[in-house]
Amino acid sequence: MANLVQEMKRTFADHDDFLILDTQFNGAAIYLIGFNTLIDFPKSNFYVRQMAERSASIEELLQNLGEQLDVDAGELKKAVLDGNLVVISENERNAIMQPFPQSLRRNIDEPRNESPIQGPLDAFGEDIDLNIGLIRKRLGTELLCHCSYQVGELVKQRISMLYIRGKVQSALIEKIDRQLKQIERDIETIDDLDKYFGHRKLSPVSHLFVTEVPFQAVHLLKKNRIVLLLENQPFALVFPHLISDMLSTANDRNHPLGLSIMIRTLRVMGVFITLVLPALYVALTTVNPDVLKIDLALFIAESREGIPLTPVLETLTMTVLVDLITEAIVRLPKSVGPTITMVGGIVLGQAMVEAKLVSNLLVIVITLMLIASSVVVGVQNALYIRSLKYPVFILASVFGIVGLISGLAIICIYLASLTSLGIPYMTFRYKGKEDIR
């Protein structure tokens, strides 16, 4: 057996799925080497045999099969790890060929985290080439640029950056290019990548907006944004992330303008209600009952009659409980989820009210808030809006209406202070070409 084959065998001795298949060609042995978990060996072998029938010599066969010929051992090992098939002949000639891969990818599917109504239903998958293809299919222009990177410490992972030339400032492209080339650690999650766009420890707002609908990604590309694609992540990561992403999707405009304005207004209301409602309940019951009309104030007081918990504790319990249930249902398998929903609904809706632990009014408030918080676009955005209600709530429980307003002011100021690579989060008119402010 050839030395090269021996060496490969030694290197991959600990891999039980490593396979060396030897076949004959004109009396000489050739070895097909690769992982049988990545390569469909019978099909690939069949293909090699077919090629062999058409080739006169081993040299010709290798030329027909391989993309790269006669490379050194290091590159051969890398090729094997990348899922390629290595062909080595007895006289130490070798070639790397594209085999028939094992199908490890799911097909183009419907989006799981977003559900577009009246819009295209394809979603990004785990395969990065497929994702780029999905975008290219929609944007058939030579102005769509694609830069590819391989980063990571343990495993080189592919990251792709797409943008439309002339729509994005070249300085910004250079900046991101530099950031991406600097990456030395493994990029497993979106947050790992997020760190390279500036320090925002503990901030609920990411630099990257996540979408899994190609339609939306293409729309944002046209709106002067940059799209990043990570291998093995079924998302497009849009840079920069702006506040308007939370309130509008490309799909809205499949409706008439009036309706899409209505939908977006509802989303703004949703954000506002999520932030304000629990805080307002606490403010009105504890600190400022006097601002309400007397009959309303009495109604609220009546609904709280005989409830031992203070309004602050009551509201806090309920908001945390609702957040717990939401989180639990997300994690649970589809078969168990409904049980929890049902039990949770009964416990929250009925039992707690009948046991006089919380007031009827609070249950309504919490339900409204929960519904409102789900209105915004994107799971991540909904989560961060939900998390921001707590500071407002705490301030309101101390200062009443004043606390509520200053809480909202703080959130507004905080969001206004966020920038990613110099682009503020709170811009409503983002222009790529002009001076960014």
């Binding site: 600190v287 400022n288 006097d290 601002v291 309400l292 009309k293 007397i294 309303l296 104030a297 301030l395 101390v398 200062f399 009443g400 209406i401 004043v402 606390g403 307003i405 200053s406 002011a409 703080i410 507004c412 100021i413 206004a416 202070s417 503020p424 709170m426 811009t427 008119r429 402010r437």
Partner: protein
């Protein structure tokens, strides 16, 4: 363009913040008739000042006020700007203290004033540390939401208007022009803020005039809304006339008992932006005048806001607030007049020198 618009928003907000508190009260004490005369002559005077200021600043398209003073010489910058920073600090203290008093009387009758002070100071300081661009961006949101509230308050209180309360409409005398209190009115201006942004990116004079007209319209409403409702005799007895005016309205279809609520909300919004801007100005002045490795604007802002917090904490009651506010406003008048004039004179003087050199 957006930045100019945002600068305009901030300009309007900080003036509105001043206007809500002591401005109407001062106007009432100045005259018994024809209050618009005061507001408009004040407006004209300010506009002249703004023109002088802009004229001076425009000679240095890429420099802000601090740079201009530094080109005059370090001593000039020290002599004029350090006292100005201290004055600003006093203004912040009194302004927050007065606002706190107002907020307490609307919302938090049982809360001690230091608690409200802590809240307001924390938010203002945080905003100031985040810098001007944050203030500008936040101000757009504040501007629209607060203006809605203000318009709502004015519109709803029009139910109680009795127009004859403002009679006689014609100013009986122009004596107020020579009254010291008229000068105090000038203290309610924040035009110096404009000098902190290089004039290349700053508002043009025309845009500034438009913003100023908006402010004047608002000042007129702040003076006349209480006047229409209560009449001159009653209005002079109030500490916060606008609050009382909003309090007088009873909307039967509304959820809330008193629409003073909205007045209070707008006051909080105004106040936060105003004090953030002032603290930011202090930070800029101190950092540029005392450059050093450890001299960061945020440290200066923190230190000064702590000092003004202590100062505000020491003011015991409304009488003192009024007295001290007037004192700090009075000093502010001095700077509002002196600093633009000096820049203008410097330009004229050095320009003349240059032309002498050429001939």
């Amino acid at each position: 363009m957006t930045q100019r618009l945002q600068l305009g928003f901030v300009f309007i907000i900080i003036h509105m913040s001043f206007g809500y508190l002591l401005y109407p009260k001062l106007t009432y004490s100045l005259t018994k008739s024809g209050h618009w005369g005061i507001v408009l002559s004040y407006g004209l005077l300010q506009l002249i000042l703004i023109a002088i200021y802009k004229k001076g600043l425009n000679y240095f398209p890429q420099k802000d006020m601090i740079d201009i003073f530094l080109t005059m010489g370090r001593w000039a910058a020290f002599i004029f700007l350090v006292p100005y920073a201290i004055n600003l600090n006093a203004l912040i203290a009194m302004n927050i203290r007065a606002h706190a008093e107002d907020i307490i009387s609307i919302f938090l009758i049982r809360t001690p004033y230091w608690a409200v002070l802590v809240l307001l100071f924390l938010i203002s300081t945080y905003t100031a540390i985040k810098g001007l661009s944050t203030i500008l961006r936040a101000s757009a949101v504040f501007f629209f939401s607060i203006n809605l509230f203000v318009i709502f308050v004015i519109a709803s209180s029009s139910v109680n208007f009795q127009l004859q309360n403002a009679l006689p409409a014609w100013p009986l005398s122009l004596d107020f022009l020579w009254n010291v209190k008229f000068l105090y009115l000038m203290g309610f201006s924040a035009i110096l803020f404009l000098g902190f942004v290089p004039s290349e990116t700053n508002l043009k004079f025309g845009q500034l005039t438009a913003a100023w007209l908006y402010v004047l319209f608002f000042y007129l409403s702040a003076v006349y809304v209480p006047l229409f409702i209560f009449g001159q005799e009653t209005v002079t007895t109030f500490v916060f006339p606008m609050k009382e005016a909003a309090d007088s309205v009873d909307l039967s279809w509304f959820v809330f008992n008193r629409q003073t609520l909205f007045f209070g909300i707008s006051i909080i919004g105004f106040n936060l932006i105003l004090n953030a801007v002032k603290l930011w100005m202090i930070g800029q002045i101190m950092q540029r005048l005392f450059p050093g490795r450890r001299s960061k604007a945020s440290y200066w802002i923190l230190a000064f806001s702590f000092i003004s917090f202590l100062f505000a904490l020491c003011v015991p009651n409304k009488a003192w607030i009024e007295k001290l506010s007037l004192m700090s406003e009075g000093t502010n008048v001095f700077f509002t007049v002196i600093l633009p004039s000096i820049i203008f004179l410097y330009v004229v003087f050095s320009g003349r020198m240059r032309s002498y050199g050429e001939t």
